[in-house]
Symmetry: C2
Subunit: 332 residues, 2 copies
């Protein structure tokens, strides 16, 4: 315990869950990290109530654990789905939460009587891995979160890059097949339309047409192909299922094309991949790295590590705390 230690609270708001916790300003450890359901259908006010209650709980628990006083808390970093207006602290629109032009930062700030900052959730996840996780020591880091969608964050020359209007980093919506699969965003051939969790499941269902009998996939989900998820596909591949293995190989190929693009564009030192899809581990990373090596320029390949995230549960919170620190204290 250190009477002079100062703390920042972090909140990672998602469509399904809210995660919150605290860290000392030096990022040395996570304190009072916990999760609760978002229950977005209750409306923005109810979600703000829930977030404020979590922050109070995090502060109380941190005080109890460390002996700190309430004045030791500098503020709250918030990560939220976007697009956002960071300057104004406004969530412009989030289909998952059903919000439009919601002043999330100031709502939270006035409730908990602390300064707050707002940044994009995928940016925060990348910044978290950069500050305390798998991308530590890097300087040019591209982060991707592979889940229901594919989010991205860019750390360039040691700082989060936001672009002209705070919407940079939409890596999931880069075209890898210009006449390919329709994406939910309206574009064709987006990386997300191939390598997100639902896209992997969909490609598995397509692969099954005509040879259901030879694959164990449908049997694994009580005979209902609609229940196949990316996790089912990776599990079946692990058990040797030929159809599933082909889907896994193709996923690595699509992802490899997307990641190779990032290497040729950014020449990063680290690409960190997190999210549910990456739980496949080496079954994903090995063919992915091989595909990137086939596609990208050699000097870019040599300069870059492609690694799984090290903070699967807390990267978003850690990064929201880091974003607060970078914005308010000017450094990390």
């Amino acid at each position: 315990m250190n009477a002079k230690e100062r703390y920042i609270v972090g909140v990672d708001l998602g469509g399904t869950n809210i995660v919150a916790g605290a860290m000392p300003v030096d990022g040395s450890r996570e304190i009072a990290m916990s999760t609760t359901q978002t229950l977005a259908e209750g409306g923005a006010g109810a979600v703000v109530d829930r977030i404020a209650a979590m922050i109070d709980k995090v502060i109380a628990q941190t005080m109890a654990e460390t002996g700190a006083s309430r004045s030791a808390f500098l503020g709250v970093g918030i990560g939220s789905p976007g697009p956002l207006n960071r300057d104004k602290g406004i969530v412009i629109i989030t289909p998952n939460l059903g919000w439009k032009n919601f002043p999330l930062r100031d709502e939270i700030s006035s409730r908990v009587k602390l300064e707050a900052t707002l940044d994009n959730d995928a940016n925060c996840a990348t910044l978290g891995e950069f500050w305390c996780g798998a991308a530590k020591g890097g300087r040019n880091v591209i982060g991707m979160t592979l889940g229901t969608g594919i989010g991205g964050g860019l750390i360039l020359d040691g700082k989060l890059f936001h672009g002209a209007s705070d919407v940079a980093g939409e890596i999931g919506h880069t075209t890898i097949d210009s006449t390919g699969r329709r994406c939910k965003c309206g574009n064709y051939g987006c990386l997300e339309a191939y390598a997100s969790g639902p896209a992997i499941a969909e490609r598995a269902r397509e692969a099954l047409r005509g040879d259901e009998g030879e694959s164990i996939l449908v049997g694994m989900v009580e005979g209902d192909a609609r229940k196949i998820t990316a996790a089912t596909v990776y599990e079946a591949a692990k058990r040797g299922d030929i159809t599933a293995r082909e889907v896994v190989r193709e996923t690595a190929r699509f992802l490899g094309a997307g990641v190779a693009n990032l290497l040729n564009i950014f020449n990063p030192d680290t690409v960190v991949l997190a999210g549910g899809v990456t739980q496949a581990g080496d079954a994903l990373f090995q063919p992915l790295r091989a595909e990137v090596k086939r596609r990208a320029f050699k000097p870019a390949v040599q300069a870059c590590r492609i690694v799984p995230g090290a903070l699967p549960l807390s990267a978003g919170v850690v990064g929201a705390i880091a974003a607060f620190k970078q914005q308010k204290l000017g450094e990390l």
Copy 2:
């Protein structure tokens, strides 16, 4: 004339031509801009001779025009094809010039007795448009040079972005069709394999197969389809040729997919396109902008101008001068 004015010399080294000139440190005007052939087949020593002679001529002419003394020249910025090692001033490899690990910066510097800096040619072209051309006033600028190849440069938060090992910005080698056309770089479906000058000509030749009789294209090149260039295609399209028009439309579609990717990744305020292919003007830019609008996120589209370069002959030299200034004087 201003006795206190200081000057920087710029050199833009290409596989075919060398361009050189000078500017006052404030970038207010171009002085003594001229071009000579590279004649790379004479070897690196002969090319260095030719560059040194051009620099001497530029200095002499600038002194004559402005009344400046030789001590008014701060140094030489050099733009060269890459990949490079900027720190060491070495050209690692350039297939067009046939060089390997050539210490270009120091060779020039010792010959002309001035400090020198080295940066990638596409980076310099982008920086030139940012400092004095079509991207002036921007802060996040993506530059593309569409010619024999497709080069790219990234200006992020007001500075050239080089990546972890100086090879960032290879926009031409981003995959837009992961199972598509083979690219010279070894990858499949690179933007360059569709929208470089030679790729446009090649797609026109393919489009002609089976309907040569209905197109004016072959007649325009003395009956020898191998002589078709991108310029031929755009000229034929202007005259109403249906085959050529389809090739032009498709070029805009491919380029649009590539540029839309850049908008979703970077959220830039400006994309500036230069090089021979962009001489097509509105015939290229109008369908290109429409395609980008169809593909990219609306906030990214709204934030971004897509414009032709304003310094078709001198962007590389102006940018090499700007790169020298940014590296040696710390600002632009």
